[in-house]
Protein backbone atom coordinates (compact mmCIF):
# COMPACT_ATOMS: atom_id res chain seq x y z
CA UNK A 1 0.00 0.00 0.00
CA UNK A 2 2.76 2.39 0.99
CA UNK A 3 4.49 1.32 -2.22
CA UNK A 4 1.51 2.33 -4.32
CA UNK A 5 1.37 5.81 -2.84
CA UNK A 6 5.12 6.22 -3.17
CA UNK A 7 4.83 5.33 -6.87
CA UNK A 8 2.09 7.94 -7.29
CA UNK A 9 4.29 10.61 -5.74
CA UNK A 10 7.12 9.67 -8.11
CA UNK A 11 4.84 9.82 -11.18
CA UNK A 12 3.47 13.19 -10.10
CA UNK A 13 6.85 14.75 -9.41
CA UNK A 14 8.22 13.38 -12.69
CA UNK A 15 5.35 14.88 -14.66
CA UNK A 16 5.64 18.21 -12.85
CA UNK A 17 9.35 18.40 -13.68
CA UNK A 18 8.64 17.55 -17.32
CA UNK A 19 5.91 20.17 -17.50
CA UNK A 20 8.15 22.88 -16.07
CA UNK A 21 10.94 21.86 -18.45
CA UNK A 22 8.68 22.00 -21.49
CA UNK A 23 7.30 25.38 -20.43
CA UNK A 24 10.82 26.81 -20.17
CA UNK A 25 11.74 25.22 -23.50
CA UNK A 26 8.70 26.71 -25.14
CA UNK A 27 9.50 30.15 -23.72
CA UNK A 28 13.05 30.01 -24.96
CA UNK A 29 12.75 28.82 -28.57
CA UNK A 30 11.20 30.70 -31.46
CA UNK A 31 12.16 33.26 -34.04
CA UNK A 32 14.61 34.66 -31.53
CA UNK A 33 16.26 31.83 -29.65
CA UNK A 34 17.02 32.50 -26.02
CA UNK A 35 19.12 30.23 -23.82
CA UNK A 36 17.18 27.65 -21.78
CA UNK A 37 18.62 28.96 -18.52
CA UNK A 38 18.68 32.61 -19.58
CA UNK A 39 14.91 32.78 -19.22
CA UNK A 40 15.19 33.29 -15.48
CA UNK A 41 17.68 36.14 -15.69
CA UNK A 42 15.61 37.86 -18.41
CA UNK A 43 12.48 37.61 -16.32
CA UNK A 44 14.46 38.73 -13.27
CA UNK A 45 15.64 41.91 -14.96
CA UNK A 46 12.10 43.17 -15.49
CA UNK A 47 10.10 45.07 -18.01
CA UNK A 48 12.74 46.96 -19.96
CA UNK A 49 14.24 44.40 -22.36
CA UNK A 50 12.82 43.27 -25.69
CA UNK A 51 13.34 39.63 -24.65
CA UNK A 52 11.07 40.24 -21.70
CA UNK A 53 8.33 41.50 -23.97
CA UNK A 54 8.69 38.56 -26.35
CA UNK A 55 8.47 36.06 -23.52
CA UNK A 56 5.55 37.58 -21.65
CA UNK A 57 3.54 39.03 -24.52
CA UNK A 58 4.03 36.46 -27.29
CA UNK A 59 5.18 33.16 -25.90
CA UNK A 60 3.63 32.98 -22.44
CA UNK A 61 0.02 33.27 -23.65
CA UNK A 62 0.60 30.33 -26.02
CA UNK A 63 2.15 28.26 -23.25
CA UNK A 64 -0.73 29.01 -20.89
CA UNK A 65 -3.29 28.10 -23.54
CA UNK A 66 -1.32 24.93 -24.33
CA UNK A 67 -1.38 23.88 -20.68
CA UNK A 68 -5.10 24.57 -20.41
CA UNK A 69 -6.22 23.01 -23.69
CA UNK A 70 -3.88 20.00 -23.53
CA UNK A 71 -4.86 19.23 -19.96
CA UNK A 72 -8.56 19.79 -20.58
CA UNK A 73 -8.73 17.64 -23.74
CA UNK A 74 -6.84 14.84 -22.08
CA UNK A 75 -9.00 15.01 -18.97
CA UNK A 76 -12.11 15.03 -21.13
CA UNK A 77 -10.87 11.90 -22.92
CA UNK A 78 -10.02 9.99 -19.77
CA UNK A 79 -13.42 10.80 -18.26
CA UNK A 80 -15.31 9.70 -21.37
CA UNK A 81 -13.31 6.48 -21.68
CA UNK A 82 -14.09 5.77 -18.04
CA UNK A 83 -17.80 6.41 -18.45
CA UNK A 84 -18.15 4.40 -21.65
CA UNK A 85 -15.63 1.70 -20.69
CA UNK A 86 -14.49 2.00 -24.27
CA UNK A 87 -10.88 2.84 -25.08
CA UNK A 88 -11.71 4.31 -28.50
CA UNK A 89 -13.94 7.10 -27.25
CA UNK A 90 -12.50 10.57 -27.26
CA UNK A 91 -14.08 14.01 -26.92
CA UNK A 92 -14.49 14.30 -30.69
CA UNK A 93 -16.13 10.92 -31.21
CA UNK A 94 -19.32 12.34 -29.76
CA UNK A 95 -19.64 15.07 -32.35
CA UNK A 96 -18.33 17.91 -30.22
CA UNK A 97 -15.70 18.96 -32.76
CA UNK A 98 -18.17 18.53 -35.62
CA UNK A 99 -20.64 20.84 -33.90
CA UNK A 100 -18.04 23.48 -33.10
CA UNK A 101 -16.63 23.41 -36.64
CA UNK A 102 -20.10 23.74 -38.07
CA UNK A 103 -20.78 26.72 -35.83
CA UNK A 104 -17.58 28.45 -36.88
CA UNK A 105 -18.07 27.65 -40.56
CA UNK A 106 -21.56 29.13 -40.31
CA UNK A 107 -20.22 32.31 -38.72
CA UNK A 108 -17.50 32.70 -41.34
CA UNK A 109 -19.71 31.95 -44.34
CA UNK A 110 -22.34 34.45 -43.28
CA UNK A 111 -19.72 37.04 -42.40
CA UNK A 112 -20.75 37.32 -38.75
CA UNK A 113 -17.17 37.86 -37.60
CA UNK A 114 -16.85 40.92 -39.82
CA UNK A 115 -20.17 42.29 -38.66
CA UNK A 116 -19.73 41.82 -34.93
CA UNK A 117 -16.07 41.15 -34.16
CA UNK A 118 -13.47 38.39 -33.76
CA UNK A 119 -15.03 37.09 -30.51
CA UNK A 120 -17.84 35.68 -32.64
CA UNK A 121 -15.75 32.72 -33.80
CA UNK A 122 -15.06 31.10 -30.43
CA UNK A 123 -18.58 31.95 -29.35
CA UNK A 124 -20.21 30.31 -32.36
CA UNK A 125 -17.89 27.32 -31.96
CA UNK A 126 -19.03 26.97 -28.38
CA UNK A 127 -22.69 27.30 -29.32
CA UNK A 128 -22.27 24.72 -32.10
CA UNK A 129 -20.58 22.27 -29.73
CA UNK A 130 -23.32 22.68 -27.14
CA UNK A 131 -26.16 22.27 -29.60
CA UNK A 132 -24.64 18.95 -30.63
CA UNK A 133 -24.14 17.83 -27.03
CA UNK A 134 -27.73 18.74 -26.30
CA UNK A 135 -29.02 16.75 -29.30
CA UNK A 136 -26.91 13.66 -28.50
CA UNK A 137 -27.89 13.82 -24.86
CA UNK A 138 -31.62 14.18 -25.43
CA UNK A 139 -31.78 11.50 -28.12
CA UNK A 140 -30.09 8.94 -25.89
CA UNK A 141 -31.80 9.72 -22.61
CA UNK A 142 -35.18 8.19 -22.00
CA UNK A 143 -37.11 8.39 -18.75
CA UNK A 144 -34.18 10.07 -17.04
CA UNK A 145 -31.83 7.22 -17.86
CA UNK A 146 -28.96 7.25 -20.30
CA UNK A 147 -28.22 4.35 -22.58
CA UNK A 148 -24.51 4.77 -23.03
CA UNK A 149 -24.13 2.41 -25.96
CA UNK A 150 -26.82 4.13 -28.03
CA UNK A 151 -25.35 7.46 -27.00
CA UNK A 152 -22.05 6.52 -28.57
CA UNK A 153 -23.68 5.57 -31.86
CA UNK A 154 -25.85 8.69 -31.80
CA UNK A 155 -22.75 10.81 -31.27
CA UNK A 156 -20.93 9.24 -34.19
CA UNK A 157 -23.90 9.72 -36.51
CA UNK A 158 -24.55 13.33 -35.46
CA UNK A 159 -20.86 13.95 -35.96
CA UNK A 160 -21.14 12.73 -39.56
CA UNK A 161 -24.15 14.92 -40.19
CA UNK A 162 -22.37 17.95 -38.77
CA UNK A 163 -19.21 17.46 -40.80
CA UNK A 164 -21.18 16.85 -44.00
CA UNK A 165 -23.18 20.04 -43.41
CA UNK A 166 -19.94 21.87 -42.91
CA UNK A 167 -18.64 20.54 -46.22
CA UNK A 168 -21.83 21.79 -47.80
CA UNK A 169 -21.12 25.27 -46.43
CA UNK A 170 -17.55 25.03 -47.66
CA UNK A 171 -18.69 23.98 -51.13
CA UNK A 172 -20.93 26.99 -51.62
CA UNK A 173 -18.75 29.70 -50.11
CA UNK A 174 -15.94 31.88 -51.49
CA UNK A 175 -12.28 30.85 -51.56
CA UNK A 176 -11.40 33.43 -48.93
CA UNK A 177 -13.96 32.11 -46.47
CA UNK A 178 -12.87 28.59 -47.28
CA UNK A 179 -9.35 29.43 -46.23
CA UNK A 180 -10.59 30.92 -42.99
CA UNK A 181 -12.62 27.83 -42.18
CA UNK A 182 -9.79 25.41 -42.93
CA UNK A 183 -7.33 27.49 -40.96
CA UNK A 184 -9.61 27.50 -37.96
CA UNK A 185 -10.36 23.77 -38.14
CA UNK A 186 -6.70 22.82 -38.12
CA UNK A 187 -6.30 24.38 -34.73
CA UNK A 188 -3.82 26.81 -33.23
CA UNK A 189 -2.71 28.04 -29.83
CA UNK A 190 -2.47 31.57 -31.22
CA UNK A 191 -5.17 33.43 -29.33
CA UNK A 192 -4.91 37.22 -29.17
CA UNK A 193 -7.68 37.62 -26.62
CA UNK A 194 -5.99 37.21 -23.23
CA UNK A 195 -9.27 36.99 -21.35
CA UNK A 196 -10.24 33.85 -23.33
CA UNK A 197 -6.97 32.25 -22.31
CA UNK A 198 -7.65 32.96 -18.65
CA UNK A 199 -11.18 31.62 -18.91
CA UNK A 200 -9.90 28.39 -20.47
CA UNK A 201 -7.17 28.05 -17.86
CA UNK A 202 -9.51 28.55 -14.92
CA UNK A 203 -12.08 26.20 -16.40
CA UNK A 204 -9.50 23.48 -17.02
CA UNK A 205 -8.16 23.48 -13.47
CA UNK A 206 -11.62 23.84 -11.93
CA UNK A 207 -12.79 20.82 -13.93
CA UNK A 208 -9.79 18.81 -12.76
CA UNK A 209 -10.80 19.61 -9.19
CA UNK A 210 -14.45 18.72 -9.85
CA UNK A 211 -13.50 15.44 -11.54
CA UNK A 212 -11.84 14.38 -8.29
CA UNK A 213 -15.27 14.30 -6.67
CA UNK A 214 -15.99 11.38 -9.00
CA UNK A 215 -12.92 9.19 -8.50
CA UNK A 216 -14.81 6.65 -6.45
CA UNK A 217 -17.63 6.16 -8.99
CA UNK A 218 -15.09 6.12 -11.82
CA UNK A 219 -13.05 3.46 -10.08
CA UNK A 220 -16.16 1.38 -9.44
CA UNK A 221 -17.28 1.82 -13.07
CA UNK A 222 -14.14 -0.04 -14.14
CA UNK A 223 -16.05 -3.17 -13.15
CA UNK A 224 -19.03 -2.27 -15.33
CA UNK A 225 -22.22 -0.34 -14.76
CA UNK A 226 -24.15 -3.09 -13.01
CA UNK A 227 -21.34 -4.01 -10.62
CA UNK A 228 -20.78 -0.36 -9.79
CA UNK A 229 -24.47 -0.21 -8.86
CA UNK A 230 -23.99 -3.23 -6.62
CA UNK A 231 -21.33 -1.24 -4.77
CA UNK A 232 -23.89 1.45 -4.05
CA UNK A 233 -22.85 3.89 -6.78
CA UNK A 234 -25.57 5.99 -8.36
CA UNK A 235 -24.35 5.25 -11.87
CA UNK A 236 -27.04 7.17 -13.79
CA UNK A 237 -26.21 10.49 -12.13
CA UNK A 238 -22.48 9.87 -12.35
CA UNK A 239 -22.59 9.11 -16.06
CA UNK A 240 -24.75 12.14 -16.84
CA UNK A 241 -22.65 14.60 -14.86
CA UNK A 242 -19.35 13.28 -16.16
CA UNK A 243 -20.64 13.36 -19.73
CA UNK A 244 -21.63 17.00 -19.31
CA UNK A 245 -18.33 17.90 -17.67
CA UNK A 246 -16.27 16.20 -20.37
CA UNK A 247 -18.33 17.74 -23.18
CA UNK A 248 -18.07 21.19 -21.71
CA UNK A 249 -14.29 20.85 -21.44
CA UNK A 250 -13.99 19.72 -25.05
CA UNK A 251 -16.47 22.36 -26.25
CA UNK A 252 -14.52 25.22 -24.68
CA UNK A 253 -11.20 23.86 -26.00
CA UNK A 254 -12.48 23.53 -29.55
CA UNK A 255 -14.05 26.96 -29.42
CA UNK A 256 -10.82 28.62 -28.31
CA UNK A 257 -8.12 26.58 -30.07
CA UNK A 258 -9.87 24.83 -32.96
CA UNK A 259 -9.87 21.10 -33.55
CA UNK A 260 -6.74 19.69 -31.96
CA UNK A 261 -7.12 15.96 -32.38
CA UNK A 262 -5.62 12.91 -30.73
CA UNK A 263 -4.72 14.46 -27.38
CA UNK A 264 -7.90 13.17 -25.78
CA UNK A 265 -7.43 9.71 -27.23
CA UNK A 266 -3.73 9.02 -26.92
CA UNK A 267 -2.66 10.66 -23.70
CA UNK A 268 -5.18 8.81 -21.47
CA UNK A 269 -4.09 5.57 -23.15
CA UNK A 270 -0.41 6.15 -22.53
CA UNK A 271 -1.14 7.12 -18.95
CA UNK A 272 -3.13 3.96 -18.34
CA UNK A 273 -0.10 1.99 -19.49
CA UNK A 274 2.24 4.03 -17.32
CA UNK A 275 0.41 4.72 -14.05
CA UNK A 276 -2.35 2.10 -14.13
CA UNK A 277 -6.10 2.43 -14.19
CA UNK A 278 -6.73 3.85 -10.71
CA UNK A 279 -8.47 7.16 -11.39
CA UNK A 280 -7.00 8.77 -8.29
CA UNK A 281 -3.65 9.00 -10.09
CA UNK A 282 -4.91 8.66 -13.66
CA UNK A 283 -6.93 11.91 -13.74
CA UNK A 284 -4.16 14.23 -12.66
CA UNK A 285 -1.43 12.50 -14.63
CA UNK A 286 -3.55 12.56 -17.79
CA UNK A 287 -4.10 16.27 -17.29
CA UNK A 288 -0.42 17.03 -16.74
CA UNK A 289 0.83 14.90 -19.61
CA UNK A 290 -1.81 16.38 -21.93
CA UNK A 291 -0.40 19.81 -21.07
CA UNK A 292 3.18 18.64 -21.64
CA UNK A 293 2.26 17.03 -24.95
CA UNK A 294 0.51 20.11 -26.30
CA UNK A 295 3.17 22.59 -25.17
CA UNK A 296 5.86 20.46 -26.85
CA UNK A 297 3.76 19.97 -29.99
CA UNK A 298 3.39 23.73 -30.19
CA UNK A 299 7.17 24.13 -29.99
CA UNK A 300 7.51 21.77 -32.95
CA UNK A 301 4.68 23.44 -34.86
CA UNK A 302 6.22 26.87 -34.75
CA UNK A 303 9.89 25.97 -35.18
CA UNK A 304 9.93 23.21 -37.79
CA UNK A 305 9.27 25.46 -40.82
CA UNK A 306 10.14 28.74 -39.11
CA UNK A 307 9.35 31.57 -39.69
CA UNK A 308 6.09 29.98 -40.85
CA UNK A 309 3.94 27.93 -38.51
CA UNK A 310 2.35 24.52 -38.97
CA UNK A 311 -1.15 23.88 -37.64
CA UNK A 312 -0.72 22.23 -34.24
CA UNK A 313 -3.38 19.63 -35.02
CA UNK A 314 -1.08 18.25 -37.71
CA UNK A 315 1.76 17.78 -35.22
CA UNK A 316 -0.40 16.18 -32.50
CA UNK A 317 -1.84 13.77 -35.05
CA UNK A 318 1.46 12.70 -36.61
CA UNK A 319 3.67 12.68 -33.50
CA UNK A 320 0.92 11.31 -31.27
CA UNK A 321 -0.01 8.59 -33.73
CA UNK A 322 3.56 7.41 -34.18
CA UNK A 323 4.33 7.38 -30.47
CA UNK A 324 1.13 5.52 -29.85
CA UNK A 325 1.86 2.86 -32.47
CA UNK A 326 5.33 2.35 -31.00
CA UNK A 327 3.92 1.95 -27.49
CA UNK A 328 1.22 -0.37 -28.75
CA UNK A 329 3.57 -2.72 -30.57
CA UNK A 330 5.62 -2.97 -27.39
CA UNK A 331 2.75 -3.69 -25.09
CA UNK A 332 -0.13 -4.86 -27.19
CA UNK A 333 -1.08 -7.37 -24.51
CA UNK A 334 -1.46 -4.74 -21.83
CA UNK A 335 -3.46 -2.50 -24.12
CA UNK A 336 -5.95 -5.24 -24.78
CA UNK A 337 -6.51 -5.52 -21.08
CA UNK A 338 -7.16 -1.85 -20.66
CA UNK A 339 -10.85 -1.35 -20.74
Amino acid sequence: MQNKHLRWVIYLSGLMVLLIASVILSLSVGEMNLGFFDIFSILGKGHSSMEYTIITQIRLPRVLLGIAVGGALSLSGVLLQGVYRNPLVEPYTLGISGGASLGVAFAIVFGLHQLIGPMVLPLSGFIGAFLIIFVVYSISSRHGRINIQSMLLTGVMISFIASSSMMLLMAITSAENLHGIIFWIMGSLDEPEMSLIYVTLVMAFASLAVSYLFVQPLNALRLGEEKAKHLGINTDTTIKLLFLLASMLAGVCVAVAGVIGFVGLIIPHLMRLLVGSDYRILLVSSFLSGSIFLVLSDVIARTIISPNELPIGVITGIVGGIVFLLMMSRSSVQLMRNK
Partner: protein, 274 residues
Protein backbone atom coordinates in the same frame (compact mmCIF):
# COMPACT_ATOMS: atom_id res chain seq x y z
CA UNK B 1 -36.53 -20.49 14.23
CA UNK B 2 -34.25 -17.54 13.50
CA UNK B 3 -35.77 -14.22 12.37
CA UNK B 4 -35.79 -13.91 8.62
CA UNK B 5 -32.98 -12.21 6.72
CA UNK B 6 -34.82 -12.14 3.40
CA UNK B 7 -38.58 -12.04 3.24
CA UNK B 8 -40.19 -11.73 -0.18
CA UNK B 9 -43.93 -11.15 -0.24
CA UNK B 10 -46.03 -11.64 -3.37
CA UNK B 11 -43.32 -10.32 -5.64
CA UNK B 12 -44.20 -9.61 -9.26
CA UNK B 13 -41.58 -8.24 -11.61
CA UNK B 14 -39.95 -8.88 -14.96
CA UNK B 15 -39.72 -7.79 -18.55
CA UNK B 16 -42.44 -7.26 -21.17
CA UNK B 17 -41.98 -10.80 -22.43
CA UNK B 18 -41.22 -12.56 -19.19
CA UNK B 19 -42.82 -12.13 -15.80
CA UNK B 20 -42.17 -13.50 -12.36
CA UNK B 21 -45.36 -13.71 -10.41
CA UNK B 22 -46.44 -14.42 -6.90
CA UNK B 23 -43.01 -15.11 -5.46
CA UNK B 24 -42.97 -15.65 -1.70
CA UNK B 25 -39.75 -16.59 0.03
CA UNK B 26 -38.90 -16.54 3.72
CA UNK B 27 -35.23 -17.14 4.34
CA UNK B 28 -34.14 -17.39 8.01
CA UNK B 29 -31.00 -15.62 9.14
CA UNK B 30 -27.93 -17.82 8.89
CA UNK B 31 -29.30 -20.15 6.26
CA UNK B 32 -27.59 -21.30 3.10
CA UNK B 33 -30.19 -21.26 0.34
CA UNK B 34 -30.07 -22.13 -3.34
CA UNK B 35 -32.26 -21.05 -6.25
CA UNK B 36 -32.52 -23.85 -8.80
CA UNK B 37 -34.53 -24.32 -11.97
CA UNK B 38 -34.16 -24.91 -15.71
CA UNK B 39 -32.79 -22.33 -18.16
CA UNK B 40 -35.27 -19.54 -18.74
CA UNK B 41 -37.27 -20.38 -15.61
CA UNK B 42 -36.67 -16.98 -13.99
CA UNK B 43 -33.74 -17.68 -11.66
CA UNK B 44 -31.72 -14.75 -12.93
CA UNK B 45 -34.76 -12.46 -13.05
CA UNK B 46 -35.44 -13.27 -9.39
CA UNK B 47 -31.78 -12.67 -8.61
CA UNK B 48 -31.83 -9.32 -10.37
CA UNK B 49 -34.95 -8.28 -8.47
CA UNK B 50 -33.25 -9.05 -5.17
CA UNK B 51 -30.07 -7.22 -6.16
CA UNK B 52 -32.14 -4.19 -7.11
CA UNK B 53 -31.04 -4.12 -10.76
CA UNK B 54 -34.59 -4.82 -11.86
CA UNK B 55 -37.54 -2.76 -10.69
CA UNK B 56 -40.37 -4.34 -8.70
CA UNK B 57 -43.95 -4.20 -10.05
CA UNK B 58 -45.73 -5.24 -6.92
CA UNK B 59 -45.00 -6.95 -3.65
CA UNK B 60 -42.19 -6.35 -1.20
CA UNK B 61 -38.68 -7.51 -0.56
CA UNK B 62 -37.74 -7.13 3.07
CA UNK B 63 -34.15 -7.40 4.17
CA UNK B 64 -34.43 -8.03 7.91
CA UNK B 65 -36.67 -5.13 8.92
CA UNK B 66 -35.68 -2.90 5.99
CA UNK B 67 -37.71 -2.57 2.83
CA UNK B 68 -35.44 -2.92 -0.16
CA UNK B 69 -37.47 -0.42 -2.18
CA UNK B 70 -36.79 2.43 0.20
CA UNK B 71 -33.16 1.54 0.83
CA UNK B 72 -30.63 3.94 -0.75
CA UNK B 73 -28.07 2.28 -3.06
CA UNK B 74 -25.31 2.82 -0.53
CA UNK B 75 -27.26 1.24 2.34
CA UNK B 76 -28.23 -1.61 0.09
CA UNK B 77 -24.56 -2.23 -0.71
CA UNK B 78 -23.77 -2.28 3.02
CA UNK B 79 -26.35 -5.00 3.53
CA UNK B 80 -26.20 -7.13 0.40
CA UNK B 81 -23.00 -8.14 -1.38
CA UNK B 82 -23.21 -9.66 -4.83
CA UNK B 83 -20.84 -11.99 -6.64
CA UNK B 84 -21.65 -12.11 -10.34
CA UNK B 85 -21.02 -14.99 -12.66
CA UNK B 86 -18.37 -13.15 -14.64
CA UNK B 87 -15.86 -11.03 -12.78
CA UNK B 88 -14.19 -9.19 -15.69
CA UNK B 89 -12.08 -6.85 -13.56
CA UNK B 90 -9.24 -6.43 -16.08
CA UNK B 91 -6.03 -4.77 -15.03
CA UNK B 92 -6.90 -4.00 -11.42
CA UNK B 93 -4.64 -5.49 -8.77
CA UNK B 94 -6.30 -8.10 -6.57
CA UNK B 95 -5.89 -6.00 -3.44
CA UNK B 96 -7.33 -2.89 -5.10
CA UNK B 97 -10.21 -5.00 -6.36
CA UNK B 98 -11.00 -6.40 -2.92
CA UNK B 99 -10.70 -2.91 -1.41
CA UNK B 100 -13.55 -1.80 -3.69
CA UNK B 101 -15.78 -3.65 -1.26
CA UNK B 102 -15.20 -0.73 1.14
CA UNK B 103 -16.70 1.82 -1.28
CA UNK B 104 -20.16 1.68 0.33
CA UNK B 105 -18.57 2.78 3.60
CA UNK B 106 -16.27 5.50 2.29
CA UNK B 107 -17.32 9.11 2.05
CA UNK B 108 -17.09 10.79 -1.34
CA UNK B 109 -14.20 12.88 -0.09
CA UNK B 110 -12.08 10.14 1.42
CA UNK B 111 -9.21 9.87 -0.96
CA UNK B 112 -7.16 7.12 0.65
CA UNK B 113 -8.35 3.88 2.21
CA UNK B 114 -8.33 3.96 6.00
CA UNK B 115 -6.30 1.51 8.07
CA UNK B 116 -9.57 -0.19 8.94
CA UNK B 117 -10.36 -0.70 5.25
CA UNK B 118 -6.95 -2.25 4.69
CA UNK B 119 -7.24 -4.48 7.75
CA UNK B 120 -10.70 -5.74 6.77
CA UNK B 121 -9.63 -6.43 3.18
CA UNK B 122 -6.58 -8.31 4.40
CA UNK B 123 -8.63 -10.35 6.85
CA UNK B 124 -11.04 -11.61 4.20
CA UNK B 125 -8.31 -12.13 1.63
CA UNK B 126 -6.51 -14.34 4.11
CA UNK B 127 -9.75 -16.19 4.83
CA UNK B 128 -10.33 -16.89 1.14
CA UNK B 129 -6.65 -17.62 0.55
CA UNK B 130 -6.22 -14.79 -1.94
CA UNK B 131 -3.77 -12.66 0.07
CA UNK B 132 -0.88 -14.33 -1.74
CA UNK B 133 -2.12 -12.88 -5.06
CA UNK B 134 -2.61 -9.37 -3.69
CA UNK B 135 -0.20 -7.62 -6.08
CA UNK B 136 -1.16 -9.58 -9.18
CA UNK B 137 -3.68 -8.29 -11.68
CA UNK B 138 -7.17 -9.79 -11.64
CA UNK B 139 -6.81 -10.82 -15.28
CA UNK B 140 -3.76 -12.92 -14.39
CA UNK B 141 -5.74 -15.17 -12.04
CA UNK B 142 -7.53 -18.35 -13.05
CA UNK B 143 -11.33 -18.46 -13.11
CA UNK B 144 -11.50 -20.10 -9.68
CA UNK B 145 -9.05 -17.64 -8.13
CA UNK B 146 -11.00 -14.70 -9.57
CA UNK B 147 -14.15 -16.13 -8.04
CA UNK B 148 -12.42 -16.35 -4.65
CA UNK B 149 -11.22 -12.77 -4.99
CA UNK B 150 -14.78 -11.73 -5.81
CA UNK B 151 -15.98 -13.50 -2.67
CA UNK B 152 -13.29 -11.70 -0.65
CA UNK B 153 -14.47 -8.41 -2.16
CA UNK B 154 -18.07 -9.23 -1.27
CA UNK B 155 -17.12 -10.12 2.32
CA UNK B 156 -15.21 -6.85 2.60
CA UNK B 157 -18.60 -5.18 2.17
CA UNK B 158 -19.47 -6.87 5.53
CA UNK B 159 -22.96 -7.74 4.30
CA UNK B 160 -25.87 -9.35 6.08
CA UNK B 161 -26.63 -11.38 3.01
CA UNK B 162 -24.30 -12.74 0.36
CA UNK B 163 -25.78 -13.32 -3.10
CA UNK B 164 -23.99 -15.37 -5.72
CA UNK B 165 -24.95 -15.95 -9.34
CA UNK B 166 -23.79 -19.40 -10.41
CA UNK B 167 -20.45 -19.15 -8.64
CA UNK B 168 -19.24 -22.52 -9.87
CA UNK B 169 -20.70 -22.79 -13.37
CA UNK B 170 -17.48 -22.63 -15.39
CA UNK B 171 -15.14 -24.36 -12.94
CA UNK B 172 -13.81 -27.90 -12.61
CA UNK B 173 -14.92 -29.95 -9.60
CA UNK B 174 -11.79 -29.16 -7.57
CA UNK B 175 -12.60 -25.46 -7.70
CA UNK B 176 -16.34 -26.00 -7.43
CA UNK B 177 -15.92 -27.90 -4.19
CA UNK B 178 -13.26 -25.52 -2.92
CA UNK B 179 -15.41 -22.44 -3.44
CA UNK B 180 -18.52 -24.00 -1.99
CA UNK B 181 -16.49 -25.22 1.01
CA UNK B 182 -15.33 -21.66 1.59
CA UNK B 183 -18.93 -20.46 1.45
CA UNK B 184 -20.06 -23.25 3.78
CA UNK B 185 -17.36 -22.36 6.26
CA UNK B 186 -18.37 -18.67 6.20
CA UNK B 187 -21.96 -19.73 6.71
CA UNK B 188 -21.15 -22.03 9.62
CA UNK B 189 -18.51 -19.98 11.40
CA UNK B 190 -19.63 -16.39 10.79
CA UNK B 191 -23.34 -17.11 10.53
CA UNK B 192 -23.40 -15.35 7.14
CA UNK B 193 -26.62 -15.87 5.21
CA UNK B 194 -25.93 -17.09 1.69
CA UNK B 195 -28.28 -17.22 -1.29
CA UNK B 196 -26.99 -18.53 -4.58
CA UNK B 197 -28.31 -19.32 -8.01
CA UNK B 198 -26.92 -22.70 -8.96
CA UNK B 199 -27.43 -25.05 -11.87
CA UNK B 200 -25.93 -28.24 -10.52
CA UNK B 201 -28.62 -30.07 -8.54
CA UNK B 202 -26.17 -32.32 -6.71
CA UNK B 203 -24.04 -29.42 -5.51
CA UNK B 204 -27.21 -27.58 -4.50
CA UNK B 205 -28.35 -30.60 -2.53
CA UNK B 206 -25.04 -31.09 -0.74
CA UNK B 207 -24.38 -27.52 0.31
CA UNK B 208 -27.73 -25.78 0.70
CA UNK B 209 -30.06 -26.23 3.64
CA UNK B 210 -32.95 -24.69 1.71
CA UNK B 211 -33.78 -24.92 -1.96
CA UNK B 212 -36.14 -22.82 -4.06
CA UNK B 213 -37.17 -24.54 -7.28
CA UNK B 214 -38.30 -22.00 -9.88
CA UNK B 215 -40.22 -22.89 -13.02
CA UNK B 216 -41.93 -20.69 -15.63
CA UNK B 217 -41.76 -17.56 -13.53
CA UNK B 218 -43.24 -19.15 -10.42
CA UNK B 219 -41.95 -21.02 -7.43
CA UNK B 220 -42.60 -24.71 -7.99
CA UNK B 221 -41.47 -26.01 -4.60
CA UNK B 222 -39.33 -24.75 -1.74
CA UNK B 223 -37.97 -26.43 1.36
CA UNK B 224 -35.18 -28.74 2.41
CA UNK B 225 -33.25 -30.60 -0.30
CA UNK B 226 -35.13 -33.78 0.69
CA UNK B 227 -38.47 -32.04 0.12
CA UNK B 228 -37.53 -30.38 -3.14
CA UNK B 229 -35.31 -32.84 -4.93
CA UNK B 230 -37.77 -35.67 -5.40
CA UNK B 231 -37.84 -37.41 -8.76
CA UNK B 232 -41.43 -36.24 -9.29
CA UNK B 233 -40.50 -32.56 -8.88
CA UNK B 234 -37.44 -32.85 -11.06
CA UNK B 235 -39.22 -34.76 -13.83
CA UNK B 236 -42.07 -32.29 -13.67
CA UNK B 237 -39.85 -29.20 -13.98
CA UNK B 238 -36.93 -30.42 -16.09
CA UNK B 239 -38.91 -32.87 -18.30
CA UNK B 240 -36.14 -35.43 -17.79
CA UNK B 241 -36.27 -38.90 -16.31
CA UNK B 242 -34.15 -39.12 -13.17
CA UNK B 243 -33.69 -41.26 -10.08
CA UNK B 244 -32.85 -39.77 -6.70
CA UNK B 245 -31.05 -41.65 -3.97
CA UNK B 246 -29.45 -40.47 -0.74
CA UNK B 247 -25.74 -39.75 -1.01
CA UNK B 248 -24.12 -42.56 1.04
CA UNK B 249 -21.85 -40.07 2.83
CA UNK B 250 -24.17 -37.20 3.66
CA UNK B 251 -27.62 -38.67 3.30
CA UNK B 252 -28.61 -35.70 1.08
CA UNK B 253 -30.52 -36.61 -2.09
CA UNK B 254 -28.34 -37.18 -5.15
CA UNK B 255 -29.79 -37.04 -8.66
CA UNK B 256 -28.98 -39.73 -11.21
CA UNK B 257 -29.73 -39.39 -14.89
CA UNK B 258 -31.18 -41.98 -17.21
CA UNK B 259 -29.88 -41.87 -20.78
CA UNK B 260 -32.10 -42.71 -23.72
CA UNK B 261 -30.19 -45.94 -24.33
CA UNK B 262 -30.51 -47.11 -20.75
CA UNK B 263 -34.21 -46.26 -20.69
CA UNK B 264 -34.71 -48.31 -23.84
CA UNK B 265 -32.89 -51.31 -22.38
CA UNK B 266 -34.93 -51.12 -19.19
CA UNK B 267 -38.13 -51.00 -21.23
CA UNK B 268 -37.05 -54.04 -23.27
CA UNK B 269 -36.18 -55.99 -20.12
CA UNK B 270 -39.52 -55.25 -18.51
CA UNK B 271 -41.27 -56.23 -21.75
CA UNK B 272 -39.50 -59.60 -21.74
CA UNK B 273 -40.26 -60.14 -18.07
CA UNK B 274 -43.91 -59.62 -18.76
Amino acid sequence: MNPSILNIQNLCCGYPKFQLSDICIDMPKGSFAGIIGPNGSGKTTLFRAITGTLGIKSGNIMLGDKNLRTLAPRQRAQNIAIVSQFIDAGDISVEDYVLMGRIPYQSRFSFFESDDDLRIAREYMTMTDTWRFKDQLMSELSGGEQQLAAIARALTQEPELLLLDEPTSHLDITHQVHILNVLQQLNQEMGLSVLMVIHDLNLASEYCDRLILVNQGRIHTQGTPEEVLTFQNIEDVYQTVVVTQPNPLSGKPAVFLATQKVLKEINERTDIAQ
